[in-house]
Amino acid sequence: MNIPVRKYDAVIVGAGGAGLRAAIQLSESGLSTAVLTKVFPTRSHTVAAQGGVAASLGNSEEDHWHWHMYDTVKGSDWLGDQDAIEFMCRRANEVVVELEHYGMPFDRTDEGKIYQRPFGGHMSHFGEKPVRRSCAAADRTGHAMLHAMYQRNVRANTQFLVEWMALDLLRDRDGRVVGVTAMEMESGELFVLHAKAVLLATGGAGRVFYSSTNAFINTGDGLGMAARAGIPLEDMEFWQFHPTGVAGAGVLITEGVRGEGGILRNASGERFMERYAPNAKDLASRDVVSRAMVTEIKEGRGCGTNKDYVLLDITHLDPKTIMMRLPGIREISIQFAGVDPIKDPIPVVPTAHYMMGGIPTNFRGEVVMPVNGVDQPVPGLYAAGECACASVHGANRLGTNSLLDLLVFGKSSGESTVEYIRKEVRAHPDLPHEAIELSRARLARLDAQRDGARVHDVREKLQRTMQDHCGVFRFADMLKQGVSKILDVEKDVASTEISDKSRVFNTARLEALELDNLVEVAKASLVSADGRKESRGAHVRDDAVDSPQCPNGRNDAEWLKHSLWYRDGNRLEYKPVQLQPLSVDTIELKKRAY
């Protein structure tokens, strides 16, 4: 079979915040750059981000990148790499101001500077008091960001391949990445996109959980592509759960609701947060609230027939306040929970929100993997955004640091790609035909499969397995069972069958191909979670005891290291955390308390 080939200098997979930022760098330096995306660029998941982007501009009060760095290291529960964190926090002002020049309509102070608002975990003077550090464009920060950067790319002649799905990385015998295979949805045809370098910016993979705040497109495609090409995935056990997702639907209810006076209650109506966080109560940090909620549920104090959610109560607020300050929330609650929060409390559960792990990179955005114990770049491969692990979020991400990550590492990965293409590759390297064959075979298998499993059923089994076995609270035996269940799911994934075999925009086929990626993410998460015998950041292990040596069950003596999961052999390796920043002193290990 003849597969059509298109040639570019660089191919970027993903047109969310990270992909668009990287593309600006490449196109503006004159390289021919194709950006692939499953959905129109401004419909990427970045559009959902409302909270803002962190930068220590100091427009509202004194602030410093070093304080931001401290908060990020502490937030990460010391698992973040301090070189990458310094790099990100120092470059924040530059990338935010650049974005302003691209036309981003930030909220303004009276003097016309970028207005900054407070956000959980942002402090000044190394954790002393809250500081206003988040820059936002009303409640449409992500949306405005995508628009500003999309326009800039159009001006720079970036070539968008919209409604295209990348399938596999083309990696040659020497380990170089020289392109991707991709399917054009409109024709259903397979293409080879031949490039001197490839940059992955495919976003998160929250859809591995049954309950997630993520949009349906977040299926971790870049991670699946990397894993199939022999590249390990880093720190995949670390998932951030947002405490208040609507039970069942997953839709996020913002922290603002508790800010306005919302109270969490268990089945007997008790305001249980008073027991877990006597001072901050319902406004304690995300992980504290999530843990408390799961403890209530697991000790039998959950609500409903299955006692599997708690209630977020705003019925005591004046209906006028609700209508005026929280109109969107009332609507969400009516639509997705079937309750009017003016009259009845909203059923909520901690819901998978953000993937801290991903494709391992350094702060230059180069994908790296250990060779004889030392990290080496994978030639021709770059990654940025939620699919990448730089690692700045470590075991727990600080709110608004993700949009910053997209800008900083979108830019740095773009710069590195330009430099590599200019200095290291004269002509397009030869295409590795066996790698192309892999994609062709995946499609052929799907077309030929008989008596196979239904994609929808297999995906649900996968999501239930992750939900039940890899949540906020983790138990040794449940993790073991989870690993064995997911290996069963993997067998089903290998034999999925689609009844609709049509070519054009065949959602069933696309979902089957996405499932191939979800299963890699799920295996990586469960195996890494089973491996790590401590509590850190976003999750708690039942068997990790709290002691002076191991505060909150965090065991630095044995576990201050990154996990690397390899698809081949379904095995783990570990690598040290980079504790040495670029120019300042190490932020020393401490117990994480707020």
């Binding site: 401004t42 559009v47 409604e163 639907a249 000790e299 599997d308 969400i332 949540g471 609270f473």
Partner: protein
């Protein structure tokens, strides 16, 4: 499903989960029986930006076009989870 309908099905995929849930539920319930005019009207709705579409579907704004506002109301009424039993399982009741 025919190609044009397949395309609309895919385009119900958005950047916001709220939209995924509402649009997909409505499409799955009604899409197969649409007339050509109804398809075109739905396609036009999908052309909105995510934030605009969400503002319409959560009632913050109204479409100036009566026909389109009618469609918005129908999508809103086809709530994906309303009334259904919530079921999220968590490990163990004890320990």
């Amino acid at each position: 499903m025919d190609a044009a309908l397949n395309r609309l099905r895919w385009q119900c995929r958005r950047g916001m989960l709220e939209l995924d849930l509402l649009l997909t539920a409505y499409f799955d319930a009604r899409g197969a029986s649409w007339s050509l005019a109804e398809r075109e009207q739905f396609a036009r709705l999908l052309d909105y930006d995510d934030t605009e579409l969400w503002a319409l579907l959560n009632g913050q704004t109204q479409s100036g076009d009566v026909g389109e506002q009618g469609l918005v109301e129908r999508v809103r009424a086809q709530s994906p989870v309303r009334g259904s039993e919530v079921s999220i399982s968590y490990p163990r009741g004890t320990s």
